[in-house]
């Protein structure tokens, strides 16, 4: 049963009075919130996700609550708690959806050291996964959205979860977060795509989330194997270029983009040194997202190297 198969009243009742439990890849997330914006946003963004009925065990228990105190009369606020501990607070109520996504990211980043966890998007085609790494604002989510719209399977926009000692990548299939100009760009690429609410934040500007394709969500239990690692850099003035990267250079760059490379210690080191030999690694500079997509579609970095 998926979320969109539940009636709106049922979704609301679960979110307010009980708990709504959704599964994203290996994780069951149990959610409770009285916040109406989030009810609608979860239906929009997570419509295709499987609902788990009253599971005996959930991996993450999140509560997004209205803020208390006198502030609420001036500017309503909310808080995000995981396992009864406040993780993010307080934030403006209209940012509830963004904070839900960030809060859940925080839960995953802190609690999954049994995977090698990279900060980057992953998409897949023909069983071969491509991970897009880069700093915030490097254009990796935009490219991830464009590849997904072009028919690649979305595994994750935020996390590359790699099973230790292997190239196997887990799929979460969660929504893609988009900022500022990339929102219009992606809407133009996919006029019938669904988005979560838009909100303006001081640091990141305008943000919203793109509903993941139903097919990606339906196939989230299907494993994929990492075969390409691409460091993305958007540059409005540049053409598109894909440069191969040597394994040692890739190794040191990937380590910087890993949430738990250091925490995994020797195992993390052994895994990553092996992994860079299994994958073609490179840097991609692009000014136009269409060019980047077509380059990635036809070009295998290993061929270029």
């Amino acid at each position: 049963m998926t979320l969109q198969q539940l009636s709106r009243e049922d979704v609301r009742r679960r979110l307010v009075a009980e708990r709504l439990c959704l599964r994203t890849g290996p994780f069951v997330v149990s959610i409770r919130t009285p916040i109406a914006q989030l009810h609608a946003a979860l239906e929009t963004l997570y419509g295709d996700f499987p609902v788990v009925d009253d599971p005996p065990f959930a991996d993450f228990h999140v509560d997004i609550e209205h803020g208390r105190g006198w502030h609420r009369w001036i500017q309503p606020r909310a808080s995000f708690a995981a396992g009864g501990q406040v993780l993010l607070a307080p934030f403006r109520l209209e940012l509830a959806t963004a904070f839900f996504e960030w809060g859940l990211n925080g839960c995953i980043a802190q609690g999954t050291h049994h995977y090698l966890l990279l900060h980057g998007a992953v998409v897949e085609r023909n069983g071969r996964a491509l991970t897009l790494l880069g700093r915030s604002g490097s254009g990796k989510s935009t490219l991830c959205a464009a590849l997904t719209i072009a028919g690649w399977r979305l595994l994750s926009d935020e996390f590359t979860l790699i099973v230790p000692g292997s190239t196997e990548v887990m799929s979460l299939a969660r929504p893609i977060s988009l900022k500022n100009e990339s929102i219009d760009l992606v809407s133009a690429l996919a006029p019938d795509a669904s988005f979560g609410p838009r909100a303006v934040t001081m640091r990141k500007g305008l943000i919203t989330h793109l509903r993941p394709p139903g097919e990606s969500v339906a196939r989230m239990d299907e494993p994929a194997h990492l075969s390409r690692v691409v460091f993305v850099q958007y540059d409005a003035t540049a053409g598109v270029a894909l440069r191969p990267m040597s394994p040692p250079e890739a190794m040191s760059q990937i380590a910087r983009q890993a949430f738990n490379y250091g925490i995994r210690g020797r195992q993390g080191f052994d895994h990553l040194t092996w992994l860079v030999d299994q994958c073609a690694c490179g840097t991609l500079t692009y000014g136009n997202v269409h060019d980047a997509v077509s380059l990635l579609e036809r070009d295998d970095i290993s061929d270029a190297a």
Binding site: P26, R32, P56, F57, A58, D59, H61, D63, E65, Q75, R77, A81, G83, G84, Q85, V86, L87, L88, A89, P90, F91, R92, L95, A98, F99, W102, G103, N105, G106, A109, Q110, G111, T112, H113, H114, H119, S136, T201, M202, R203, K204, A255, R256, Q257, A258, F259, N260, Y261, G262, I263, R264, G265
Partner: protein
């Protein structure tokens, strides 16, 4: 552990994580080879917690090594406190105890030399404004925390174990005089009784009650280890009197007996019972402890428990002299520790906890 069903684990993992003891449970399960008998849903959580704990152990080990090296030219005793000391002593609960910083105790008249040596070796007092600095130096028993610029690790340098605002006056000279060397190391640890009394004072005087369960388990492990020495109990009570730590000692023994079931000889319990607060206050205190020790981590924060914890955090009512300065009030009350408090409701760039930040982790390799 193997008798628990999935619903029990669902609660246990959250409660243990909120009480900062999940890693200890994970290590125990691993060492007793119980992991494979546990439900598949539970194993990843324990595995993740165990990996994190193992990393903490390595980081603390290396950090102590670096501190010893940085202070090698100073002819002064450096005493490891809390987590780093438990690890150096091989205390049972050290396995899986997550330590966010290394705490050391040095003689007060050498603290400036220690600070200078650490600053010269790459630690820095970044991120604190001058008010914070002044607050620490005036009203706390430690220097402002120093962070190593490359490894991002924290060290707290103490000159005594209770803040000067506390009505109890511990003579740190006694602690230093009785400290014991660690074989093959430059650093030292407190004597067994003092180690217990420090942990008791830490929780029952300026306690972080969110970690109370972890602290009580530490104290239980200490008593189990130290009480094999026949004169330990006598020494403990004598030291509690000499160090002016009768009140936290009595509170710790009573709480251990009530909640952990720690075996404490009747004579010891009877003698320390005389140090407890008198009836109306004593039963109020017990009630507060009852509430503060309620497990958290299930659903939303429990307001009664939170209130009890905040009352207990302020329990040793500070001395009037301290309360009469503005600085004390502006800094003492809401020090929102780990909460990401985005000032005007704005998100932080990266709302992930410190250990997970990619760049921090990368730097930790240095």
């Amino acid at each position: 552990m193997v008798d628990l069903d999935l619903r029990d684990w669902d609660v246990l993992i959250r409660a243990a994580s909120a009480a900062s003891v999940l890693s200890q449970i994970a290590i125990q399960a691993h060492e007793r080879q119980l992991v494979h008998d546990l439900p598949a849903e539970v194993r990843p959580h324990l595995e993740s917690a165990r990996i994190l704990a193992e990393r903490h152990r390595v980081v603390v080990e290396w950090e102590v090594n670096r501190i010893e090296y940085a202070l090698r030219h100073l002819d002064t005793p450096v005493i490891l406190l809390k987590g780093a000391a438990y690890q150096a002593l091989g205390l049972r609960t050290a396995a899986g105890r997550l330590t966010s910083d290394v705490d050391v105790l040095v003689p007060r008249d050498r603290i400036s030399d220690v600070e200078r040596a650490l600053l010269a070796a790459g630690w820095s007092g970044e991120g604190l404004d001058s008010r914070d600095q002044e607050y620490f130096r005036r009203w706390l028993h430690e220097l402002p925390p120093l962070r190593h610029v490359r490894r991002r690790t924290l060290i707290d340098v103490h000159h005594t174990i209770l803040p000067p605002t506390d009505r109890l006056a511990v003579d740190p000279g006694l602690l230093l005089a009785d400290s014991v060397p660690l074989p093959g190391r430059r650093t030292r640890v407190l004597a067994p009784a003092d180690l217990f009394l420090h942990s008791a004072a830490h929780l029952f005087r300026n306690g972080r009650w969110a970690h109370a369960v972890r602290d009580l388990v530490d104290m239980d492990a200490m008593l189990a280890l130290f009480s094999t020495e026949p004169r330990f109990w006598d020494t403990l009570l004598t030291r509690a009197e000499r160090l002016d730590l009768r009140i936290p000692c009595a509170a710790a023994l009573r709480t251990l007996q009530r909640y952990v079931g720690t075996p404490i000889p009747d004579v010891v319990a009877a003698r320390s019972a005389g140090w407890q607060p008198r009836p109306p206050l004593g039963s109020l205190y017990d009630r507060l402890v009852d509430h503060a020790l309620m497990p958290t981590g299930m659903d939303r924060p429990d307001p009664v428990c939170e209130r009890a914890r905040s009352v207990l955090a302020l329990w040793p009512i500070p001395r009037l002299r301290a309360m009469s300065t503005a600085l004390f009030w502006t800094k003492r009350l809401p020090r929102s520790g780990t909460r990401h408090n985005a000032a005007n409701g704005e998100p932080l760039d990266d709302p992930l906890g410190a250990p997970g930040r990619p760049d921090d982790v990368a730097r930790n390799q240095g």
